[in-house]
């Protein structure tokens, strides 16, 4: 049963010959970490979709391309389906907060190609009030990663099937992975569930009593940090039409 050959997943077109690697830049960097590695994706992109992505950046054997949010979906579609690239797997998607920059969130997509044995990092910048196109149409698995980025950083993704919090509680205030989110958290606000009311699905805001502040006031106070609209406290079961996207078929 154990085999060595890497079977291409069903449904992908047969492999084609990869184009020759790009000519290496003449100056060899002194740091071995900055060595240039061969990767067909930047060349293919330059060929087919010129001007969409930046020049590749090499570090520690990894290739990074920067793309503007407007071209993101187009580039992703291409990278996923082009036989020379064929990045079938979205290994990871995450964001980072750079509060000092103009567009504060940097979002990275770690792509992997099983067929070509390649990895690629796609990078994009997005501001607090802007939103990114969701890549769930290309990789349905981006669903949870995008929810996580939304939850922890407050990045909006357009076209996501259901962008709600995933790791934090539904009624959490703020997005903890932002750099201006204090490490001990905000002053506590409790939303206590009263047993008798649970069946009627309502809850009491007791933060008023505890700290003299209502949860809503806290939200207002930290408005600068609370970019994304809060999700509903009680999330109903998903309706059937989102389900198709959930399954990723």
């Amino acid at each position: 049963m154990p085999t060595d050959d890497t079977k291409p997943p069903a449904g992908t077109p047969p492999p084609r010959e990869t184009p020759p690697p790009a000519p290496k830049p003449p100056v060899k960097p002194p740091d071995p970490l900055l060595a240039v590695v061969s990767c067909p994706a930047p060349d293919r992109l330059r060929e087919v979709l010129p001007g969409r992505v930046s020049e590749p950046h090499f570090f520690a054997g990894e290739v990074t391309l920067t793309v503007a949010p407007d071209h993101l979906l187009e580039v992703c579609q291409f990278l996923r389906h082009d036989p020379a690239c064929s990045f079938e797997l979205l290994a990871d998607l995450t964001g980072t907060d750079f509060p000092d920059e103009e567009k504060r969130f940097r979002v990275v997509y770690h792509l992997a190609s099983l067929r070509n044995g390649q990895r690629l990092r796609l990078r994009t910048q997005v501001g607090q009030e802007e939103s990114l196109p969701s890549v769930t149409p290309v990789w349905p698995g981006a669903n949870w990663f995008e929810r996580e980025a939304f939850d922890l950083l407050g990045i909006q993704f357009d076209g996501h099937p259901r962008l709600v919090r995933i790791l934090m509680p539904d009624d959490w205030v703020g997005h903890p992975l932002r750099k201006d989110y204090p490490l001990p958290g905000y002053p506590e606000h409790h939303l206590r569930y009263r047993t008798a009311d649970i069946t009627r699905r309502s809850y009491v805001d007791i933060s008023w009593k505890a700290t003299g502040e209502r949860a809503a006031d806290i939200v207002k106070k930290y408005k600068g940090n609370v970019g994304a609209p809060e999700s509903a406290p009680h999330v109903p079961m998903p309706v059937d039409d989102t389900n198709g996207q959930e399954t990723g078929s």
Partner: protein
């Protein structure tokens, strides 16, 4: 005239077979699952946020506490990432010790999966058999690093200590015994008719869907894709070892069972080779001191093949000895996405079988 009513039930967060605190909202028509919505985050401890304020070396203990079932892999993934970021070389002997530990931990992790998965399906004895052997592995770990669950056994650029005297012999003895015991497990389950009935064609997911949903590890290999980072992107000393990637194209729970069972034997094989090939002398740490100066504003992603799939770490440096951003790409998190489509249309009994077959650790997915 009368219609049957759909019923919404909460499976978890406190439920015997959600393996921790997974909560699964199910909508049932009788016993059949119409719809499901996994809810996670009950174990979210903010490890990524915490990491941003710690030095590189102080983050290692957190990695133990994410996937506490295979803490060695977590350590290795994180340390590998730091070493990649800083360009640190690991001495050969240390790399061998790391691989021995990680592979033993993979066996332990798979044993835990086997026990709980079988227990969920109702076979209770194999649970205790599996734990008997897992205890032996934990004893070996205890002899090496003093801990049984959260090891923190490796350091940046190497390992802190050599294998204690007599450890090799004990490990060899265990591996020999384990091969026998592995046959016992197979006797109990592999051809068991009820086991076949409960696992065949349950939780079907083919390679295309697995990849689309970022599912990796044994689940992907059981869908016929020989994806194994130990072969595809060899790290540590895996390129010097001789091993196979077990693959099955059943795409179902049974295929995953077969793949994981075969992986345990492969791990045994690897540890045996390591014990044999490991240099008896040599340095254990590749660098002196503990201050690290990575290049400013660089980012790396490093992934290893954990027992549950691709276990990656994404680091952004700002030139100091703390990461600017430390993101853990944990396989349980990604694999859990496959749960909802897998349980769709199945029965309640299949749900627990599928949760078991995905082999999730909630500490891993929630971080």
């Amino acid at each position: 005239m009368f219609r049957t009513q759909e019923m919404e039930i909460n499976m978890g967060p406190q439920h015997p077979s959600t393996h921790g605190v997974l909560r699964l909202k199910l909508r049932l028509d009788g016993e059949r699952v119409v719809d499901s919505w996994p809810v996670i985050g009950y174990l979210h401890r903010g490890i990524e946020k915490l990491s941003e304020s710690k030095e590189f070396i102080k983050i290692t203990p957190f990695t133990d506490r994410m996937d506490y079932v295979c803490a060695m892999s977590g350590n290795l993934a994180y340390l590998g990432a730091v070493e990649k970021l800083c360009g640190i070389k690991v001495p050969e002997k240390a790399a061998y010790i790391r691989v021995i530990m990680v592979e033993l931990n993979r066996i332990a992790s798979h044993l835990l999966w086997l026990g709980t998965h079988a227990l969920d399906i109702g076979a209770m004895s194999i649970f205790l058999y599996g734990f008997r052997e897992r205890e032996m592995i934990l004893d070996l770990f205890e002899a090496y690093c003093g801990a049984r669950l959260t090891y923190n056994a490796f350091r940046i650029s190497g390992v802190p200590a050599d294998l204690p005297p007599g450890w090799k012999e004990e490990c060899t003895g265990f591996l020999k015994l384990f091969r026998q015991r592995h046959r016992e497990y197979e006797q109990i389950l592999t051809a068991n008719r009820i086991w076949l009935k409960r696992t065949k064609d349950v939780g079907y997911m083919d390679a295309e869907h697995c990849l689309a949903l970022s599912v990796t590890g044994p689940v992907l290999r059981a869908a016929g894709v020989a994806r194994d980072l130990r072969k595809d992107e060899p790290y540590a000393i895996y390129d010097q070892l001789d091993f196979d990637i077990p693959v099955d194209d059943g795409c179902d729970t049974y295929a995953r069972y077969i793949v994981r069972m075969a992986e345990m034997l492969q791990s045994v094989h690897m540890v045996e080779q390591c014990l044999e090939k490991m240099p008896s002398e040599g340095p254990l740490m590749g660098m002196k001191g503990r201050r690290m100066k990575p290049r400013k504003d660089e980012e790396i992603y490093f992934a290893i093949e954990g027992p549950r799939g691709e276990q990656g770490v994404y680091l952004i440096s700002d030139g100091t000895d703390r990461p600017y951003r430390c993101k853990f790409r944990n396989s349980s998190f990604a694999n859990l996405q496959a749960l909802a489509p897998m349980v769709q249309g199945g029965l309640v009994a299949d749900v627990v079988a599928i949760i078991g077959t995905l082999d999730i650790v909630l500490g891993d997915s929630d971080r």
